[in-house]
């Protein structure tokens, strides 16, 4: 739950000027401390990643290299117990898109409306949006199980997971959007547009949203990253998304190379998204 709290909320580089006028001996000691620290931590973080990448290129005999594990991602399941990875990837990407859209449709108009018309509700609204942070997914899923039993009467597709994912994404999307909304003068913009004859839909879609597109993009990337890494709810509601498929593939055949190639691919994808995110964030702060 909280692991994602920090995502995209890279602390703003404040103050902390490079210490000037420091004694030479202390600066030398500090630099030595920094290099040692970075090397040790770097090894701790990079060695498991490297091992995973190495295993994703493992050949049939120990020590050999091969791209077979990568080709296996698109191959049919290796055993009857293993799920189809490709369809799991597809459903997860669709879920990511769907969750992003629903989060935006649910949050953006409501937040603008609250800012303009019902200020007094905003504290309660913030509380509700941040509430999922204190309810771990493993707890939420217990309460969601009966609700999903009901949903399954009408629709069996794993796409239905988006209902729960929107709730999980709420705190992160809320904070991203609140930052963007706080940076613009919503009242003046909307009054100007309204006095020129725009209706509320026009105000939101064509006036306010374009002024906070970076915050919207930020919220979408955070929601998408969350969906791509989600395991708990899908697993316990017996749906198969990417993480669940990886889990069962590993269980069906221990040390299958395809598990490592899929993990590496998923991680690389998440990394690219977060790098985009950090650039969006930086530009917003400067601009």
């Amino acid at each position: 739950m909280a692991a994602i709290t920090s995502l995209g909320e890279t602390p703003i580089a404040t103050a902390a000027k490079a210490p000037r006028g420091m004694q030479a001996s202390r600066r030398r000691r500090l630099n030595a401390f920094r290099y040692v620290t970075f090397v040790i931590f770097g090894l701790f973080f990079l060695v498991p990643l490297w091992s995973m990448v190495r295993f994703s290129f493992a050949g049939a005999t120990p020590g050999s290299w091969s791209v077979t594990p990568w080709k296996e991602i698109t191959a049919p399941p290796i055993s009857s117990a293993a799920p189809d990875l490709l369809s799991a990837i597809e459903i997860t990407l669709e879920l990511a898109v769907l969750t992003c859209l629903v989060v935006l449709v649910l949050l953006v108009p409501t937040m603008i409306w609250i800012q303009l018309k019902v200020r007094w509700i905003s504290r309660a609204f913030e509380f509700l949006c941040l509430l999922p942070l204190t309810i771990p997914a493993i707890v939420l899923v217990v309460g969601l199980a009966p609700i999903y039993n009901f949903i399954r009467h009408y629709e069996l597709s794993a796409l239905q997971l988006f209902w729960a994912y929107v709730i999980l994404a709420l705190p992160y999307a809320y904070r991203a959007l609140a930052t963007g909304l706080g940076a613009i003068d919503v009242r003046t913009l909307s009054e100007a547009a309204r006095s020129l004859g725009a209706n509320w839909a026009t105000v939101m879609v064509r006036v306010i949203a374009p002024n906070m597109w970076q915050a919207i993009l930020n919220a979408m990337l955070l929601s998408a990253a969350l969906v791509l890494g989600e395991f708990t709810i899908a697993f316990l509601l017996l749906y198969t998304n990417l993480q669940v498929a990886m889990y069962y593939t590993a269980r069906a055949t221990a040390n299958a190379g395809v598990v490592f190639s899929t993990s590496t691919a998923a991680l690389t994808f998440a990394f690219v998204m977060l790098v985009i995110l950090s650039y969006v964030g930086r530009r917003r702060r400067r601009g």
Binding site: F45, F55, P136, G143, A164
Partner: protein, 287 residues
Amino acid sequence: MAVASTTQTGARPVRAGRRLSVPAWVGTVPFLGYVGVFLLLPTAIVIWGSVRNSTGFQFSNLKLLGNSVVRSYFVGSVELAALSAAIGALLGAILAYAIASGNPDGGVRRFSLAGSGVLAQFGGVALAFAFSATIGPVGYVTQATWFYDFPQGILPIYVYFQIPLMVLVFLPAVDGLRVQWREAAESLGGSTWHYWRYVGGPLLAPAFTGALLLLFANGLSAFATIQAWENQIAYTVPQQISVAISSEVGTANPSEADVLALGMVVMVAIIMTGYALLQRRAARWLR
């Protein structure tokens, strides 16, 4: 007739007036409805399910918390969360200091922050695979015999995502330490030890404790990683919740899941309240 016509003429302005005075909070109803069904209702189901059984309302289910087996899951969860939070917080604080003492616009800092954002997020199934590829039974670096022992086998995996989270949460506090305070301590004849003991330490203590609590909550609610690491034996509450709600082996016990989930909610809610209070305390000096 006459009565009817007067009512009609009388009603029209009233109806027009009423249309204008639709309360503005109605605009938030879609959001409230969604959150009500997918966040508040599941929480209510958990609470209701933990105090009720087939015969009606009673607290006997809660007696389950006194059961020694059930208690062992809580002990396991707290042990793992506390150890991983303590180690993660300590190492993360050291890393945060190493980052903060460098160039605020430097590449090392930017790289470390982007990396922390990704790695704090990189929990879940793939992380357990990465570690099994590193130190697992066929590990690339070493084959640790204790890899499947609890808690020492899972501990490094938890620490792996706790350290980056600590860096993200704690770095703003370390950045808030002013060079002038250090210089003031030095000009009064204080040594490095004096500075940390009487100035830096007390200033960072609330932020550190708050971050420690956040990491603890994070460790408590993590499920995917430990499930992918070991799926036969339940050591922690989330694992046991999973056993209790899935009927895979015919042992589904919904009310046990509800009671365990309630225990989790109460613990996480207390911790997160403490975190919020400490954050407020920490903000007093470091802004």
